[in-house]
Amino acid sequence: MEIEKCKGSRDLLPGDMVRFRRIEDVFRKACLDWGYGEVRTPTLEYLHLFTSVGTLTPSMLSRTYSFLDWDGWSGERIVLRPEATIAAARLYIENLSDLSPAKLFYIENVFRFDESGTRSRERWQCGAEVLGSAKTLADIEMIMLSMDVLRKLGIIDVELHLSHAGLIRALLTALGLSAHEQVRVFDQILDEDHSVIEKLIGDNPQFTEALDLFFRAKGKSAGFLQNLQALLSKSFPVPGIEDSIAEFTHLAERLSEFDCKYVIDIASGRGFEYYTGIIFRLHCGDQKVGGGGRYNDLIPLLGGGNVPASGFGLQMDKIMEMTDIPPDERYRVLVQCRTDSAKAERLCFETAADLRRRGYIADIDHDGTGTACKWTISVEGDVDHPVYRLMDQAANVVVEAGSCSAICEQLQEAKANEASIT
């Protein structure tokens, strides 16, 4: 029988894990430096946490891993966490609701079925949430923090796309869509189904130009939003759009002030149904590496009171493909035992421990086939009078010593000589 990993899953090998840990370390340090506290939600949650309108779209729900637990005779289904923000909101309501604002971050995996076979069904993401702040400043912080992390990871060609859920909803209402249809169309826009925009334009020929500009034109400054508003007020009045435009304009002006470039692209609102305000996406080339937005209705919907919130997530799997393995600056030394006795092996372990204390990576060779290193230290000779030999990569003996500490010092000297030659 062939042994293979589960379909749609991914193994992370040592090289992958170096990249993974680097992203984690940079993200964790940045969040801690910005005053955020780390949390982790359980992998299993109840399905009903994700089922109401305003949480996950039906198309996302149809790809969750849901099942009955061993005590699930009541029919209460549980899921492998399909999404991190809703779980974080649940954690906040259950444990931290007296904190306002609560600034939280997490590094978690999410599970979604993917039929294409091109993406792993388990994906890792770094996310941060500000719960309890209605200020645009919180949205700006989400954008700046996410871009700060990417910059520190060496990803600089990041394109920031902005949209606004309130703006899209107000427009759908003005088009006369029923509540049920609005949810469906909004979901399709979020699921990046562009045909729905074509259909909206086709169904409303009297507003073709306005809708075309609304969904297809792209802007680079707050002025673009003013143009949109002027256009709509003349050709197609959208009641209740003012607040959204004002919020969006405020954010755009601030970002311009911070020299943060962006593209206003209303149809780029890919994301989650819970978004109520600003939605942003971070692109690097043709890859989407992250995104976030404001979700003021989610916590009220989950029964947690009137708590506005904003957050973002970075897709670690995508970012891993864009980051290099950082050079390991620590020196690796192979330690070999050439005498078959318990005492000699003990000396070997002691030597390795000493090397580690001095900041080296000490790799004990089990059978002479250890990974080739620039330097090898062998322990040989009579166990009561051991000989420590320092050898270079070509197995030439450079120096011998009678004690562990002496050979370690010799190594340090050899390393210093090498550095001075270079």
Partner: protein
């Protein structure tokens, strides 16, 4: 070429369709009990008769190139496994039914808006649990539970579940007291194909004939029919007793009669008969569904089989269901069965076929999926794949499964099908089950009104 044909309600019209198409099958008609009908003049065609529900799975996994079954079962599979390797080849134009989400008239649930606006927990009983879940997600129900059933979903609303996803056939009156909130699917008999077979094999000898022959034999679509009244509902303070339908019903009624308990079946709703014990209400449902229903507190007592109780407790070890009395009738043995052609006589010998590589993977078919799963673990029969079945599992051996976990009374059916028993798991008879904790609206004394006479009848026997 391999073809899977349905038994049950679609059999007569499928049989006549095949005949009209020039495919004469010996042993495929309403009176025949053959599982392997033979097609005269087409020796290369191998055919097997299955429970309709099994056919989409058998075709999807590639055991059969073609199959005929109701579209509802195809959609039930696709609802959970959308990438199943199935091609819907042709609507055969007969065997119409409609799947509808039903509630009782007085539940204030008459539209989808009523459902999505409902804040409490909505339970949906159905033989089509995947379609029920898909509906609930698409209708954006805030909180729901699906009660998967073997049957009798129409008996569940409003007191055992709020909604039932049920199948209606043309001219059939809506079940007692139910109204359809929305139609989920119009179903009819379909010719389906395995995707790989469709892409790579010449199936035209069968497909061609069926394609040109099928006519709309049964054009009557489902029409709404008059409602009939609902029987007495479960009221608070009354013991809720579940009794079995089907072949378990007669022996159960005989046993109850020995204990002096009789049903009044002269009522409009046959699933809710009267009973001559004060403070007790009765509903007739499938014995397979009883342990889960008792666990959920929908019933206080039920008479089912120890096999179904064991299957339930294997799946949910901490379930609050307990056995109160072993009733001793309807005794069967739950056994492990293989084909006589397989050179093994014990689970150990079967395991050795897997360990020495003679058999790459064991296919286990069973209605008792959880017992079968545990049996495979305990006997280290790995690797294995479990094939859930809905009755008549013996048909699966030897072509479509290697091991069967099945109940036997005499072993005659097994012998007729060239099968042998290699292990006995346990013996099972009818039993009375209840919950460890009493519902808050009934007392021990009330339960005793049922338990005591049954216990007395057992002692006297």
């Amino acid at each position: 070429m391999k073809l899977a044909l349905p038994k049950g309600r679609l059999l007569p019209l499928t049989s006549s369709l095949l005949r009209d198409a020039g495919l004469d099958f010996e042993g495929y008609d309403a009176t025949s009990r053959s599982y392997r009908p033979v097609c005269a003049g087409m020796p290369q065609l191998s055919t097997k008769v299955f429970n309709e529900k099994d056919i989409p799975i058998q075709v999807a996994v590639g055991n059969y190139d073609l199959g005929i079954c109701g579209r509802e079962w195809v959609e039930e599979l696709l609802a959970k496994y959308p990438s199943s390797a199935l091609v819907k080849v042709k609507d055969l134009g007969f065997g119409y039914s409609e799947l509808c989400m039903a509630a009782t008239v007085d539940q204030n649930m008459r539209s989808l808006d009523d459902l999505s606006g409902y804040n409490g927990l909505i339970s949906i009983a159905s033989e089509y649990p995947n379609l029920a879940e898909k509906f609930a997600l698409q209708a954006r129900l805030r909180r729901f539970r699906v009660l998967p059933l073997w049957g009798a979903a129409e008996a569940y609303p409003p007191d055992t579940s709020q909604l039932a996803l049920i199948s209606r056939t043309p001219g059939q009156a809506m079940h007692t007291g139910l109204i359809s909130i929305t139609s989920i699917l119009d179903s009819s008999a379909f010719l389906i194909a395995n995707r790989l077979s469709w892409e790579t094999k010449d199936l035209s000898p069968v497909v061609g004939r069926l394609y040109h022959t099928s006519t709309m034999r049964d054009p009557e679509k489902v029409t709404s029919a008059g409602d009939s009244p609902l029987g007495p509902r479960f009221a608070r303070g009354k013991v809720r007793l579940a009794l079995a339908d089907g072949h378990q019903q007669a022996p159960t009624l005989q046993f109850l009669a020995r204990a002096g308990i009789t049903l009044n079946e002269d009522v409009p709703d046959s699933r809710r008969p009267g009973i001559n014990v004060d403070g007790v209400s009765v509903k007739i449902i499938r014995p397979q569904d009883m342990p889960l229903q008792v666990a959920n507190g929908n019933f206080d007592l039920a008479i089912t089989g120890e096999d179904w109780l064991a299957n339930h407790l294997t799946r949910f070890p901490s379930s609050p269901v307990r056995k109160i009395l072993t009733l001793g009738y309807g005794t069967v043995r739950i056994v492990a069965v293989v084909s006589n052609n397989l050179p093994v006589n014990s689970p150990e010998e079967l395991r050795s076929l897997l360990t020495n590589g003679t058999m790459e993977r064991l296919r286990i078919a069973s209605e008792y999926t959880d017992i079968a799963d545990r049996y495979a673990h305990e006997n280290r029969l790995s690797p294995y794949r479990l094939i859930p079945t809905w009755g008549a599992s013996e048909v699966f051996l030897p072509e479509d499964a290697d091991l069967l976990i099945e109940n036997v009374q005499t072993g005659k059916t097994l012998a007729e099908n060239n099968l042998k028993i290699i292990d006995t798991l346990f013996e099972s008879s009818a039993c009375l089950i209840g919950r460890r904790e009493l519902a808050d609206d009934i007392t021990v004394e009330q339960l005793a009104k049922v338990i005591k006479p049954l216990d007395q009848a057992l002692k006297e026997a």
